[in-house]
């Protein structure tokens, strides 16, 4: 039976077996006429006609031509064996630490395909888990082609073996190791193994302050503060939001100053306008040389109130005496909530502050838990100078310390010694060294740190060294004759610090708690004021140095981001300059004036301090500057740092002895004109409600409808708000997400971390001084700074001043201004003026409340930028990634710098508009991750680069359609308002009213 079974291969086989058979044999039914086409002698008889030939010929030519049109393939080599931890397109994060002698931060390093591309804060870290602008920018310093590419002996590239041998040969008993503050236990161990005299000196010295605590506690460090326990803080010259100590206080400050009962009151006494002074509730203008007398005066008031002994001190200048008195009274009233901070590098000043806190039993001032990021010793350095002068030193080995740059005294003596320099580049010190040993960037190196009592942190490499460099600990250990690798040294160190975490857990977290190995460390010492001598103020003009939010002490001096970031106060980039009060400027006859294209120019001066003269220093007339006091930022005026930083500004260290803080100066105006790169030409709000600012009593007792009035329009339906008086069809805001951002103007300190973070995240081009000067900075996010003016609407009304005069006077900032900061990025208007005017629809609205920008569709009419009330749209005036003008500054033009670019974000072409996207790449990634996992997005799962970088938590991003999200709560706050709400743009960004703790 089975034989009779018949199976068909298909219906065709059954119905027409012959045809199926024929087809099966001839599977490729169309025969190719190849044989006819080629190789036959009788071409004429072939089936291929001349026509066919031409067709084939034409086709192949066209195909070859089209193939040639394809974009060239850049060498990209796939992994032969893919590392398990690495998936192309998926970032990895590693915990690490960043310490450059000035800034310490616990960070998370974002790497993509093995390249570190972004620094994020390590929010879990107990100490300095936040990042500031400098730490944010530091990732670009890794990709700096100006770094030393191999060891150098006498200026010639050498192998590590030869260089180390040469360095060891120069090392004698009379050699000295000079470094900045050392916080790494492993490095300390290696240094002690080296057995040389070790001089630690900081570019920005806090030495005299550290001396006080060393004498008191036996530990060389600086006090920490707990702002949450303070109710009134008086900071004398202490820029607690800037360079005061190594502790990052942004978050604590913002938290303590949350509007409400018990909001921290902040009084700042200072010479130049700092970030802290700008944020303070009250500001007293005092010269740097008056700080001691101010502190003494406050101390005496407190002493009188608490029954302690007064000290002898010169009287405080009459103009500020009553304000200082009031500050002292407020401290006394605050009792244990009082906090007096000193920022002057003077033992007298520090003792007075510490004693005052002690008398008031301040709970916020902590002299038991010390931090160690600034422990350099000026006296040790002065001793070294004397010994070098005396010829008692053979060799100086510098360890990550550009000492010949910041110490003019040592630079003058450099010929007397042999120099061995362990440095990341041939800087002002290493370029003069006989042996220069390249130091790895912190992202390439193993490191550990005890930045503060009780915290141990480790840093791990996130990339193999780009150049032939090594970590500090490995080099020093090598010089000492050791041969251990860096990881072995760090592991060994970690095991001795007594931290409880296993090695892998330690690496994962980046930090661990560690016992303090000092007996009785938790007993607060008592300050002795018996031999105190309070100095007198400088007659005439004093000169002091300060640090800028971008440059800091100058370790990132070849990093274009720190130059491009405008100074938060002066709003000038790519420069340092003498800040001077208007009264002094008038006396000297110097001015700042705008050019016809909006660029700022100014006069220059020659300044002489202790016989040293700096010529043609630009003068910036700074509202809020104390009369008789001029300041100059350090870190600039580099000669040998790289093509970005060389020749930018002047070296302030040339004027002051390394260990001095201020000195009396002589200033003569010159004929030379200086061009500034100013990003902000008008400095006042012109009576407009841009930054809504109220006082604390108003906030506590006032009516929100009055102090945060919603603009209304008179219509036939009665007064309507801008959201109700609406000509347009609304977008659907209910379905799906609705991304909103809250910016708390009360928390924002203006530090600029968000600006740098945004630039890094979004590949924002750097355009250099000349273009910034022409107001063509490309920042997607800017921090507007406004000064108050003496002229207000109320004053004009009271005095009957006409509109013309009123507005003219409103343009002039007050001499003692109140300062506000306002981060402004694309407001993502839901009725966006830019969207309607684009002729090609290159900027369109998303249903998630975002305003999109399609670079590929943009033809560059710039109509959108004109029609933007917030002026946040940026045009690519040039081909920034190709034009020679930007070759020195724009990272995307550098083979190394290009590696920092975020692969998730397009580098924009010439001729298109760009702007803030609210980090659309992060939103998309977050949504996709949630989708992959099949879950609903949770609040805070991802955030924008600016919000993440913001140390004070001023920026909160999220979905307002998620009723439990933080941003949806913030939107209901009484303080919330939209910028220029009356224009009817319905922004997705909203601001929180600033509250000052004053009547």
């Amino acid at each position: 039976m089975t034989e009779n079974n018949k199976y068909w291969r298909g219906i065709e086989d059954q119905s027409n077996p012959e045809l199926a058979e024929k087809l099966a044999q001839n599977e490729f039914s169309n025969e190719i006429s190849q044989a006819d086409f080629l190789g036959k002698d009788e071409l004429a008889e072939g089936e291929t006609s001349r026509r066919d030939f031409l067709k084939f010929m034409g086709f192949s030519t066209a195909a070859a031509t089209l193939a040639a049109c394809e974009a060239p393939i850049v060498e990209s080599i796939p992994y032969v064996v893919k590392p398990d931890s690495l998936t192309p397109g998926v970032p990895n994060y590693y915990a690490s630490v960043s310490y450059d002698g000035f800034d310490f931060a616990s960070v998370l390093v974002k790497t993509r395909e093995g390249r570190p591309i972004k620094i994020e804060p390590n929010n879990d870290a107990p100490f300095n888990g936040a990042t500031n602008a400098r730490v944010q920018a530091s990732v670009l310093s890794l990709y700096d082609g100006a770094r030393m590419q191999s060891p150098m002996v006498d200026g010639v590239a050498a192998s590590w073996g030869d260089a180390m041998a040469a360095a060891r040969a120069l090392k004698t008993e009379n050699s000295v190791l000079v470094s900045g503050s050392v916080i790494s236990p492993a490095l300390k161990k290696a240094i002690s193994k080296l057995g040389l005299r070790h001089v630690s000196v900081d570019a920005v010295s806090q030495s005299a302050r550290a001396d006080v605590y060393e004498n008191l506690t036996g530990r060389r460090g600086l006090p920490t503060v707990s702002l949450d326990k303070a109710t009134t803080v008086v900071a004398v010259g202490a820029d607690l939001l800037g360079d005061w100590g190594g502790e990052n206080l942004m978050g604590a400050y913002a938290a303590a100053r949350k509007p409400g009962e018990g909001m921290l009151r902040h009084i700042q006494v200072e010479a130049g306008l700092s970030l802290s002074g700008s944020n303070a509730d009250a500001r007293i203008k005092a010269k740097v040389s008056e700080y001691e007398t101010v502190l003494a005066h406050i101390y005496n008031k407190v002493a009188a109130a608490t029954g302690a002994d007064k000290i002898a001190a010169p009287a405080v200048r009459e103009e500020i005496a009553s304000s200082v008195n009031n500050a002292a009274m407020e401290l006394i009233q605050a009792g244990s909530g009082a906090l007096l901070l000193n920022g002057l590098n003077s033992a007298t000043a520090e003792k007075l502050a510490a004693k005052t806190n002690e008398l008031l039993a301040s709970e916020a001032f902590n002299t038991t838990t010390l931090e160690y990021t600034s422990t350099g010793s000026d006296s040790a350095f002065n001793a070294l100078l004397a010994d070098v002068k005396a010829g008692a030193v053979d060799t100086i080995i510098t360890l990550d310390s550009n000492v010949l740059y910041f110490s003019a005294e040592l630079a003058a003596l450099a010929d007397k010694v042999n120099l061995v320099s362990i440095a990341d580049r041939a800087d002002e010190t290493a370029s003069k060294a006989k042996v220069a040993l390249p130091l790895s960037h912190y992202l390439e190196a193993w490191a550990d740190a005890i930045p503060v009592d009780g915290v141990y942190a480790v840093g791990q490499p996130t990339i193999s060294p780009l150049f032939d460099s090594k970590s500090a600990v490995e080099i020093v250990n090598g010089l000492a004759g050791g041969s251990e690798s860096a990881i072995e040294l760090i592991k060994a160190s970690a095991s001795t610090t007594g931290n409880a975490k296993a090695w892998n857990a330690l690496l994962h977290d980046g930090f661990a708690s560690t016992p303090v190995l000092v007996a009785n460390y938790n007993v607060a010492p008592s300050v002795d004021l018996s031999d105190i001598k309070v100095g007198t103020a400088v007659e005439g003009i004093e000169f002091y140095t300060y640090t800028k939010a971008g440059m800091g002490a100058g370790s990132n001096a070849n990093n274009p981001w720190v130059y491009e970031l405008p100074d938060p106060i002066s709003r000038l980039s790519w420069d340092n300059y003498l800040v001077m009060s208007a009264a002094d400027a008038v006396a000297l006859g110097v001015e700042n004036y705008a050019q016809s294209n909006g660029a700022m120019n100014g006069n220059t001066v020659n300044i002489t301090v202790n016989g040293e003269t700096l010529e043609n220093v630009a003068v910036w007339i700074q509202p809020g500057q104390t009369q008789g006091s001029v300041g100059l930022a350090v870190g600039f005026g580099r000669e040998s740092v790289g093509k970005v930083g060389n020749g930018v500004g002047v070296n302030a260290n040339a004027l002051l002895a390394t260990t001095a803080t201020y000195a009396s100066a002589e200033i003569i105006a010159t004929e030379v004109e200086h061009g500034f790169a100013s990003v902000q030409l008008a400095h006042t709000m012109m009576g407009r409600k841009i930054v809504n600012e109220i006082s604390l009593p108003t906030f506590l007792h006032g009516n929100a409808a009055e102090w945060n009035e919603t603009p209304t329009f008179e219509t036939h339906k009665g007064p309507l708000s801008a959201f109700e008086a609406n000509l347009w069809d609304d977008h659907d805001h209910e379905t799906s997400h609705m991304w909103n951002m809250s910016i708390d103007l009360n928390s924002c300190t203006g530090c600029g971390a968000c600006v740098v973070a945004c630039s890094l995240e979004n590949n924002v081009p750097v355009v250099g001084k000349d273009e910034v000067r022409r107001h063509r900075d490309m920042h997607w996010l800017r921090i507007d700074r406004y000064y108050s003016s003496e002229m207000t609407e109320a004053v004009a009304e009271e005095e009957g001043i006409g509109a013309i005069e009123k507005y003219a006077k409103m343009e002039v900032p007050s001499e003692s201004p109140s300062v506000v900061f306002q981060p402004v990025m694309c407001q993502h208007c839901n009725h966006a003026p830019c969207e309607t005017v684009c002729p090609v629809g290159a900027t369109v609205h998303s249903r998630e409340g975002l305003n999109h920008m399609a670079y590929n569709r943009c033809i560059g009419t710039r109509y959108c930028a004109n029609n933007c009330p917030y002026k946040v749209r940026r045009f690519n005036w040039f081909n920034y990634k190709g034009n020679e003008k930007f070759a020195d500054v724009n990272p995307s033009q550098d083979d190394y710098g290009r590696m920092v670019l975020n692969p998730d974000v397009t580098v924009r072409a010439r001729g298109v508009i760009e702007k803030c996207s609210l980090c659309i790449q992060r939103i998309q990634l977050g949504k996709l991750e949630a989708k992959k996992d099949g879950r609903i997005l949770t609040d805070g799962e991802f955030t924008t680069a600016c919000a993440q970088a913001c140390g004070s938590g001023a920026i909160v991003f999220g979905d307002v359609n998620n009723p439990s999200s933080e941003v949806s709560h913030l939107k209901q706050e009484a303080r919330a308002y939209h910028l220029l709400e009356e224009v009817g743009t319905q922004p997705s960004i909203f601001y929180q009213t600033k509250v000052r703790n004053r009547a």
């Binding site: 002729p839 629809g841 560059g860 220029l980």
Partner: protein, 462 residues
């Protein structure tokens, strides 16, 4: 009973016969170019080349070679654009509107006025193109079906309306102008001796035969095109003004803009016609055709439109105050007293005060004075656009973004280049085209009647 209006003076002076007109108008085409023409042409051509160089530099390097910045994203580019479009308006007004109103005096000037329209619209059209960051993508403003799916132009954008308005305007004006030229080309063709020249004019005249049917069609087409062109006089500058009026920027967002821009356009256009014709009539000795009455008529138009513009300026100020909007108030205060006050007062002086002199007959019939005022008016109208564009955006809502603008040599070079280009075209036109619509002009020549009257006066009625 024969009645003759005593007030109407003859529009053509000099006792011309039909052949005189033909000879006079064909003369510049048939004779060799005078030295003055060559000098003028050389200067214009050099300016043109300089402009071409600057445009190529811009396209090669980026818009950054101009003086613009993050706050002032338009300045000379759009100022020049609006200025040139405005100048173009007089041509259409004269040829279309005055045709419909049967204003015969237009016949002597409409040809050149229209030529001026077309040439200035060409200049105007250049700016929206070259001001684009990516000019190579300029075709994206056209609603062309594409492979990007549903990607379409944004019909909400006034800039897109501009594209349609300007291209329609240029097309209609060119066709209208060309239709008018056909009988005149035929006239030159018929007279030409050089065979090449004859052949060219033969092609240009589309086989015009002067038959009654031809004339009938000619008249009909002219009337239809005049009807089409008339709304354009109002629409083009209305739409140009929408670029500003529909925005949210104080000083731009102004509902008065459409009529104000149209009046301003006619104002500046007539001034430009005045400038050009005063030169043309002198050089080509056409005083008999473009006589003092024409000049006076145009001066009256300038005076009226100048006054309308003046009222508009004052209305703007009033509304800014009346609106109670602080941004609006500041914008106008800043115009008059801010850093660009000189531009504002230059505008006021040139556009509002200077045309008021035309109330005096002695002044409006004075050629030198007219010439000076015509130039002054165009300077003023340039400043008007500069004031509207730059002084509004340089200080808008947020003081933090306030800035200033200063042109670079490229900005200036391109502007000079368009003036050069305009004169290159106009000078070429003046040498090769009949600059007066002679065929039309002959319809108002009262030779028989006048000759009879003259004969009658001399010899008495017998």
């Amino acid at each position: 009973m024969h009645y003759e209006s005593p007030v109407r003076n003859p529009l053509i002076l000099g006792d011309k016969s039909y052949s005189d007109i033909t000879n006079d108008i064909a003369k510049p085409v048939e004779s060799k170019a005078p030295r003055a023409w060559w000098i003028a042409f050389s200067i214009a051509f050099i300016m043109f080349l300089w402009g071409v160089g600057c445009i190529l530099y811009t396209i090669g390097t980026g818009i950054g070679v101009w003086g613009l910045n993050k706050t002032v994203d338009w300045a000379w580019d759009i100022t020049n654009f609006v200025w040139w479009v405005g100048i173009g308006h007089a041509g259409t007004l004269i040829s279309a509107v005055l045709l419909l109103f049967r204003q015969k005096w237009r016949m002597a000037i409409n040809r050149s006025a229209e030529a001026m329209t077309i040439f200035s619209v060409i200049q105007a059209g250049l700016f929206p193109l070259i001001h684009m960051g990516r000019i190579w993508m300029a075709y994206w403003v056209m609603p062309i079906p594409n492979q990007y799916g549903s990607l379409w132009v944004n019909f909400n954008s006034p800039l897109l309306w501009d594209v349609f308005a300007i291209s329609t305007y240029l097309t209609v004006s060119t066709v209208f102008w060309y239709v008018g030229l056909i009988p005149d080309f035929a006239m030159i063709r018929d007279r030409a001796i050089n065979p090449v020249q004859k052949h060219i004019y033969k092609l240009l005249s589309f086989g015009w035969g002067g038959k009654a049917k031809h004339w009938q069609r000619f008249e009909e087409v002219s009337l239809v095109l005049a009807g089409l062109a008339t709304p354009l006089v109002l629409s083009v500058h209305t739409i140009v003004s929408f670029d500003f009026a529909t925005s949210v920027i104080p000083g731009w967002h102004t509902t008065i803009f459409p009529p104000y821009f149209v009046a301003g356009a006619i104002f500046s256009g007539f001034a430009m016609v005045q400038t050009l014709l005063l030169i043309v009539r002198k050089i080509f000795k056409m005083e008999d055709y473009i006589n003092i009455e024409h000049i006076e008529m145009m001066n009256i138009v300038i005076m009226v439109t100048g006054s309308i513009v003046g009222v508009a300026y004052i209305t703007e100020l009033f509304i800014a105050w009346y609106s109670g909007v602080e941004y609006e108030q500041y914008a106008f205060l800043n115009r008059a007293t801010g850093p660009y006050f000189w531009a504002y007062w230059a505008m006021m002086t040139c556009n509002v005060f200077s045309p008021q002199f035309m109330w005096f007959k002695k002044l409006r019939t004075n050629l030198i004075f007219t010439f000076v005022i015509s130039i002054v008016v165009n300077i003023g109208m340039w400043f008007e656009r500069f004031v509207i564009i730059v002084t509004s955006i340089h200080r808008d809502y947020l003081p933090s973004s306030w800035s200033m603008f200063s042109p670079t040599f490229v900005d200036i070079g391109i502007y000079i280049g368009t003036i050069g280009f305009f004169f290159v075209l106009f000078l070429l036109y003046a040498r090769t085209f009949p600059v007066i619509a002679q065929a039309e002009l002959k319809t108002i020549l009262k030779s028989s009647g006048e000759n009879f009257k003259k004969h009658h006066d001399e010899h008495g009625a017998h």
